[in-house]
């Protein structure tokens, strides 16, 4: 009993001085001791708490199905993944789609195109909008993940998740954005309506690229924790928080073009706070996922 209150006291203490992460890291470590891993619990954890960066790679790979739940199979499966990567990369070199001087993100794009049967007839053909989307996400992921094989698999599975699981919900997000902004700050929404800016906001950057190229990677990965573990709705609240954060600036802009341009290049220094507030706002409106640990 005494030990218990001691523990609780320490938790509160950590929380106050910003060490809440210690407790969270411990509970994630308990989850990671499960063998086979419980993917559902890992998803719930990532919905609720920030992932400690040392475990982020593992958790993402397990949730996205790059690694199976059984630890015993990890080495074997990773070997298959690596072989597949090598096979596809080599093939692209044979047909001269990539060379030693091709930038890494372009290599990832060609690999993804080949694997999905969408490789164009010639590397000189202009890129499609969906390719630009891929490149934005690949560039961001490249900043987060060091190993090329891991990085390719994460990009490719993340893209597949956007194209399948979230295919129907992503187009609904602009409407939800308008709805929540109205709840949080109707004056700001009205100002943007007056400027006819609401339909011209950078929705593709926010909801298709999932803020890749908009937020710095250190903040972005905390948003992607939520997206990867199953919620694309978090994107709406990041967008709302961006507007609330730069409200004064936006209220001073009087036309849609200026507002859009500003939002496409927001200052990076407040992004960590924006993401934290967005996650709180998301929990406030959508509830905290049930913690089934």
């Amino acid at each position: 009993m005494a030990e218990d209150s001691q523990r609780n006291f320490r938790s509160v203490y950590y929380e106050k001085v910003g060490f809440r992460g210690v407790e969270e890291k411990k509970s994630l470590e308990i989850l990671l001791k499960d063998d086979p891993l419980d993917i559902e619990k890992l998803c719930t954890f990532s919905q609720r708490f920030p992932l400690p960066s040392m475990y982020r790679g593992l958790v993402w790979k397990v949730i996205l199905g790059i690694l199976p739940p059984h630890y015993e199979s990890h080495a074997q499966v990773m070997m298959y993944r690596k072989e597949q990567y090598t096979d596809v990369l080599h093939a692209l070199k044979v047909i001269r789609f990539v060379s030693d001087s091709t930038p890494q993100v372009d290599i990832y794009l060609r690999m993804y195109q080949l694997e999905s049967g969408k490789l164009p007839r010639s590397p000189s053909f202009p890129l499609e909008p969906e390719d630009e989307l891929f490149l934005a996400i690949a560039r961001a992921m490249e900043e987060m993940v060091e190993d090329n094989v891991d990085c390719y698999w994460l990009i490719s599975c993340f893209m597949n998740q956007l194209n399948t699981k979230f295919r129907d919900s992503l187009p609904q997000l602009p409407k939800a954005f308008e709805q929540y902004l109205n709840l949080e700050d109707s004056r700001l929404l009205n100002h943007m309506k007056t400027c006819s800016a609401v339909t011209r906001l950078p929705y593709d950057l926010w909801f298709e690229k999932c803020f890749a190229g908009c937020l710095p990677e250190s903040s972005l990965q905390r948003v992607w924790d939520k997206v990867i573990s199953g919620s694309c709705k978090i994107l709406v609240f990041v967008a709302v928080e961006i507007l609330l954060t730069f409200k004064i600036k936006i209220m001073a802009l009087d036309n849609a073009e200026k507002i859009t341009k500003f939002l496409e290049n927001i200052p990076q220094d407040s992004s960590d706070a924006i993401v934290s507030k967005a996650i709180d706002l998301w929990h406030k409106h959508c509830g905290t996922p049930v913690h089934s640990m």
Binding site: P36, P68, H70, Y80, R81, D87, I95, L114, E115
Partner: protein, 58 residues
């Protein structure tokens, strides 16, 4: 426990299948490339013959 073994097997199988599917895509891409290269070779050959003809005619 039986379900566990099945689940583990499925995890491995999924990775091997994906590697196989990629290899199939590679074969398809190579096939297209071969057709394309033959096309270019034939065009080159045809052009050469045409040039020879026009030269002879001159």
């Amino acid at each position: 426990y039986l379900e566990d073994v099945k689940l583990q097997a499925r995890g491995q199988l999924q990775a091997v299948e994906s590697r196989y599917e990629a290899q199939k895509r590679i074969t398809q891409a190579f096939e297209l490339e071969i057709l394309d290269l033959y096309g270019r070779l034939e065009k080159d050959g045809l052009l050469k013959k045409l040039e020879e003809k026009t030269e002879a005619a001159e």
